[in-house]
Symmetry: C2
């Protein structure tokens, strides 16, 4: 007794792809991402769930023929509204999760875009290899979405962001052509770097259907140290000492006082107490080398600290990182919602940005905090809100604008790893010079002359 198609898009796509590959545009699970906690929900006429890349191409072809917008969707864990459709067709890659090739002896794999990121990491580990990028929500997020946003994560400090691990892409380009750029090889300068151009393009230039990923032998040991500091300045001095230690840490994470307060309740170990700044720095390598590095890092982090916590044993270490992954939901839980941005500043301006985030919150009558990737100068600057209170959302949006102005003024960027999506669309013109903005816009026109690919997202200008 299922109801029949309710829109022309749904009806025609059912005919094209088969009924099992199409769902109604009203299905709420396909209309939002992690920005739902700020109240963002989109709308669509149909959801296409192709079984193979030819069906992806057919879907884009149909959309291009009929001037229908298409929003590609991965795991829906994005933090910028990049997957929130503004009408038209949602294309979900959830069924494209094949592992085409796994060559552990050559340190690489070739996988479809819908494979969950955690599966990529697990497959690598099973063969003694390591896929380092570790954005949040790895179980739910998909490798294609990670590539489309060039996702980061704690271990990007030493190992680089997602794009650094991608050697080739299978794409569908408008009006519906399947194209390969790059491949299993690690070097290629024959053409302009279309691969890097598609990485981080948020579904606005083309659809990623598969990727070749590079891997490395897994480090035998990964040994984190957590240290707390009574002042932001004392923490910043420790951070400088870490950078001067000669060790290349795998991660240099931080939490400010508000982020730690939100997450302290679930801390795996004795309560961390009242800290203005917390650092999580990790040593890795062979067990012997990681232990030696950890001692050097501890010596750098000790001066001025309140407490040093170096978990021992796999269980304790995994618990610490699980706890770290839970910081974002713990902050959300404070008031039920949040506006969380991912500004980045030159590393020497990090303290200013941490302090300014709190100050911007106060000015807008909102609780504010930040945490993130200190080594990369990358803050998740966050304003806590009750998502049922429209006035709070409005104040938080004004606060976010002040935050973007700050990032630009400090010589940074409005987005380090989440993308512009919908919520930061139009901010680029504040950050880039007119000639660069023009190139951004002309590249969009080259790849998507009808402007149908994820419309409204990653725009350079407001208008």
């Amino acid at each position: 007794v299922a109801a029949g198609p309710t829109t022309a898009a749904e009806r025609e796509l059912r005919r094209l792809l088969g009924p099992e590959a199409v769902r109604p545009g009203s299905e709420r699970g396909y209309l939002s991402d992690a920005t739902a906690s700020r109240g963002l929900v989109g709308h669509a006429e149909a959801v296409a769930i192709p079984q193979n890349p030819d069906q992806v191409a057919a879907t884009l072809h149909w959309c291009y023929d009929h001037n229908v917008p298409l929003t590609t969707r991965g795991g829906g864990t994005g933090l910028a509204g990049g997957a929130v459709p503004q009408g038209g067709v949602v294309l979900s890659l959830e069924r494209l999760r094949a592992v085409h090739e796994l060559r552990p002896e050559l340190w690489r794999m070739h996988v479809q875009a819908g494979l969950p990121t955690a599966d990529v990491a697990r497959l690598a580990r099973e063969w003694g290899l390591y896929y380092p990028p570790d954005p949040g929500a790895a179980e739910q997020s998909q490798i294609g979405g990670n590539i489309a946003t060039n996702a980061g994560g704690p271990h990007s400090f030493k190992y680089g962001v997602t794009g650094h691990w991608v050697t080739g892409l299978e794409l569908v380009l408008a009006p519906g052509e399947r194209v390969v750029v790059g491949g299993p090889g690690r070097k290629d300068v024959a053409g302009y770097d279309l691969r890097s151009l598609l990485v981080g393009s948020e579904g606005t230039l083309g659809i990623i259907t598969a990727a070749w990923l590079r891997l490395v032998p897994a480090p035998e040991a990964q040994l984190p140290i957590l240290a707390t500091y009574p002042t932001v300045e004392a923490g910043a001095e420790a951070l400088s000492a870490v950078l001067g230690s000669g060790v290349v840490p795998a991660t240099i994470e931080f939490l400010d006082t508000g982020a730690m307060a939100a997450a302290a309740g679930s801390f795996p170990g004795p309560p961390p107490g009242d800290a203005a700044l917390t650092l999580i720095v990790e040593a890795d390598g062979t067990t012997m080398e990681a232990e030696r590095q950890r001692e050097e890092l501890k010596a750098s982090m000790q001066p001025g600290s309140q407490r040093l916590h170096a978990p021992a044993g796999r269980g304790e270490i995994e618990a610490l990182w699980r706890w770290r992954s839970g910081v974002s939901p713990a902050v959300t839980a404070q008031r039920g919602g949040k506006l969380s941005e991912d500004i980045v500043v030159p590393a020497e301006r990090l303290v200013e940005a941490i302090v300014a985030t709190q100050e911007i919150g106060r000015r807008h009558g909102l609780r504010a905090c930040s945490w993130g990737h200190a080594g990369d100068g990358n803050l998740h600057s966050t304003f806590m809100i009750d998502p049922t209170q429209g006035a709070e959302i409005e104040r938080a949006e004004a606060a976010a604008q002040a935050l973007f102005a700050l990032a630009i003024e400090l010589g940074g960027s409005v987005s380090a790893e989440h993308g512009l999506g919908l919520v930061k669309s139009g901010t680029l013109e504040r950050q880039w010079e007119p000639a660069a903005v023009r190139m951004h816009e002309e590249i969009k026109r080259v790849f998507d002359p009808k402007g149908l690919l994820n419309p409204g997202k990653k725009r350079a200008r407001v208008s």
Copy 2:
């Protein structure tokens, strides 16, 4: 008694930039690069040598106003004719060699494009830091040219190619606008990745005038091992064993029998003897860690080897790498000239490509050899010629075409790190699908609508 300007371009640029910033287009030092050994010399109407980026912008502006082609030039060490002018103005960046900022405590520097690559590496080393990309001819080549070709080198296996170390670029875009993309920050996804698009674009999309470079703490020790094998297959097995050892070597280099024969005379140590394949694998890290890794690598490389050479002490190690840098000139010296390409294949096809290079040489009546970056599947496949013999150059060019066909057939690329330049211009359409070729060409039109930036280079099609 210097003669006056002989062309309108020279006369007008002298007026615009001052006489000290302009030289006659006939100056031979500005008309060729390392492809001179295959007989390639270009022609120009004037050479501009700007003192600052505003003069770079003024030069491009003048060229755009007057429809005059402009070929940007770094150190002139390119191996694809990318800097060989086809008329118009040569713009040399040799005077833009300032170090704007060196922040060792933040692992970064900001330098002008004309700074020699060896100076970048030396500056880093003075502060205990490391700039890993190490293309050949580092003393003469310039960082801007390295970025414009996305140059590689032996240490790219572990550390990545030049682009991986560039976080920001100062550019001049047509028709003469100064633009910054990126900066000192390590992460930024606010706009499309224009930085990566310009990296490797060979002066055909814009002019790079300065760059922000990332650095890392220098490894305390770098310990190479050279091993020789009686058959290519035995060497390939050792290569597999190295990849399976769990160690991430800093380099995995190879020389085939012809390359070793050419370079054996200057080998720093007892003569290496007759080998079908030679590998150079390096361990790095703290002294203790590098020594441990070296032992593991030696154990992997021992089976089937003729000889293992692990130089001890800084002097011996530097001598080995100096010798390795001399392989290319040693091969040139065999017959006075060479055609050397930089094809890349998936690592599992390396042996096929080594054998096929020799076979293609035989078929064209030329001595052939290869060496290069085995870990990246990157061969410098080379045909030795007497550059005064036109017929040999012609046969070598036919052989190069066969080589490109091979690279594409094996799933690789015609260029891993030298670029298309002039000598491979037009090969891209054999390698990429039509839709990707179209994107390549449209991007060129977006950045250079008049087609004046390094015309004839990095073209996708022959016509």
